[in-house]
Symmetry: C2
């Protein structure tokens, strides 16, 4: 059992053939060059015996293709993103690509570093969920002709395709549902106020309220975090005019909000109604199961990959067509966290 890694040269030497022939056999183009069956089998047998694994760095350098897709996401600890990564990973591996992951911890600085690092590694394509507002690092990728697609978060003014939930639509519908149940004092607990999903969701909330002749009651919070939900709810319930319902713009915010409500002795939905985004699996098992907007994660990931691989394979320099800005309308999963009030 040799300790040296087997290379094409090792194989060529041991069976007395040239590098070229070995390479051809190993690349499955034997018949194209009319290499004899006997030779082919000898090569294959020897490669197997030596446990030959092609050196990807060399292929990468030579072919200017890495068979790898970069994945840049804000935060893996958030189950919503973890799910996306899980699906993306699976589909990509089936197609023979490796996935290089970076978790940016919602920091723009890390995102820029990540994009550059991936660029250095010659990604064949990238899927990014931007953490920040900056776009320059993303535009640089166009220079390098690296196909990119956004998932979930996106920039409308960039010529980069995106696939996302129709956040506006989801927020509009769920707010209207609250209104239909008699709620007027609906507080909206937002996430990071610069990212598109949040902007669209807040807009949906506002438009639903206004559309039914109400002023938006309250918009607060500053991150898709447990802490933001907790603090904001604590503050909210101190106000002279309390809400009858809370719309949390993510499940992480929801959990923080629920903790604050429980601490202060408010019951859901008797004292206050609540609704959320993301539809995490545990919503069914909370003290009061929570009605939620459900994002079509699998669909989003699958479509995004299809878009990306199309771009990679055809390398079309054609402009952005209308189909490449894709929004998928979410479903609402009704549970028991919303009470009808007079």
């Amino acid at each position: 059992m040799q300790l040296e890694t087997a290379t094409i040269k090792t194989i060529a030497d041991t069976i007395g053939l040239s590098l070229t022939t070995v390479s051809r056999v190993l690349n499955g183009v034997a018949k194209k060059y009319r290499i004899s069956k006997a030779t082919e089998e000898r090569v294959l047998a020897e490669a197997d015996r030596l446990g030959y694994i092609p050196n990807q760095a060399a292929r990468n350098l030579r072919l200017k293709k890495s068979f790898a897709i970069g994945l840049v996401i804000p935060n893996l600890a958030n189950p919503f993103f973890a799910n996306i990564v899980s699906v993306v990973n699976q589909v990509l591996h089936e197609r023979g690509y490796s996935v290089i992951l970076t978790d940016c911890n919602e920091e723009e600085k890390l995102e820029i570093e990540a994009v550059n690092a991936l660029s250095a590694r010659n990604m064949d394509g990238m899927i990014v969920i931007p953490s920040g507002r900056g776009k320059k690092h993303l535009e640089l990728l166009r220079q390098k002709r690296t196909p990119v697609v956004f998932i979930d978060r996106y920039f409308e003014d960039l010529a980069i395709p995106y696939v996302a939930t129709n956040h506006y639509d989801g927020a509009l519908k769920i707010t209207e549902y609250l209104i239909a149940n008699g709620h007027r004092k609906i507080a909206c607990l937002q996430g990071s106020n610069h990212v598109m999903p949040n902007i669209k969701r807040v807009q949906g909330y506002i438009d639903a309220m206004k559309g039914h002749g109400h002023d938006p009651f309250y918009i607060g919070g500053n991150g898709f975090t447990f802490e933001s939900g907790y603090l904001e709810t604590k503050l909210l319930m101190q106000r002279s005019e309390r809400p009858t319902a809370i719309l949390a713009l993510s499940d992480t915010i929801l959990l923080g909000s629920l903790k604050a409500l429980a601490e202060d002795g408010y019951r859901v939905p008797e004292d206050i109604s609540i609704a959320t985004f993301d539809n995490s699996v545990y919503l069914d098992f909370l003290a009061c199961p929570v009605t939620s907007v459900s994002q079509p994660v699998t669909d989003i990931a699958t479509i995004a990959i299809k878009l990306l691989l199309d771009k990679i394979e055809q390398q079309s320099t054609s402009g952005l067509t209308e189909q490449e800005k894709i929004l998928i309308s979410p479903a609402i999963i009704y549970r028991s966290s919303i009470a009808s009030i007079p």
Copy 2:
């Protein structure tokens, strides 16, 4: 704005210096070769102007070092693993390594493919949470001298370091806590019965029962899944002799179990007590907050990386020392899901 990617040669040509000098400056060893400040600045300025990013494939090929760590995990949709990946990612990026991720969907076949693919990409090291029972693909890595460390799941008979929760200890303690609260009919809902964490946890349960003079009441289930928890609980509650307590060996199992209990009208903890492993953040917000064994994820990930980077940097061929099998005792987080019974 040029479309061609800048290389060291591009820079050298435009400012009329040699590749070597440019390379040296860019690698930060300018002073070592006493390159003049002026030259250094010209190089840096030009690199910046051209948006130069070093080609990692070339470095990799040349240095036989990829500055990348392979991460092989069973299933990202499981928040416990997602957390590990999140922490690992963060620490590794701080140290200048990229992370190549593979989600094996708990399938051994995918795990083997993943390990080989990563091997082809010359990983400097690998962190793996094995999905399967097979070890051959892991042993091959030793040939290539690729450092590996296991997290969470491990093989005791392999000369590969591991860092994991002391699963046995956690199960023992929480079972004893149930017994101390008067429970005798404690059902254990297990995960994949071939993986080490499960085996150790079940053993802890058995030993706690026997240690207090009781026979293990019931052991069932076949995976760390929602479905297994659900089905097993349904079956369990049909038995003539019902348990007074359930020990779910993961939070995913717990959620399934809770769903079954709720469907059949059992209240926690009035009708039945329950305890779990993993301590997911949402446990606090369930209908009844659930007492749980809390795994020290951050510690585990941090220690594992330290071990791995040590191995990578010193390339010690020394044998496995005692410190390289590390088990960390978990804490128990007490909530209100366990009732005292007479």
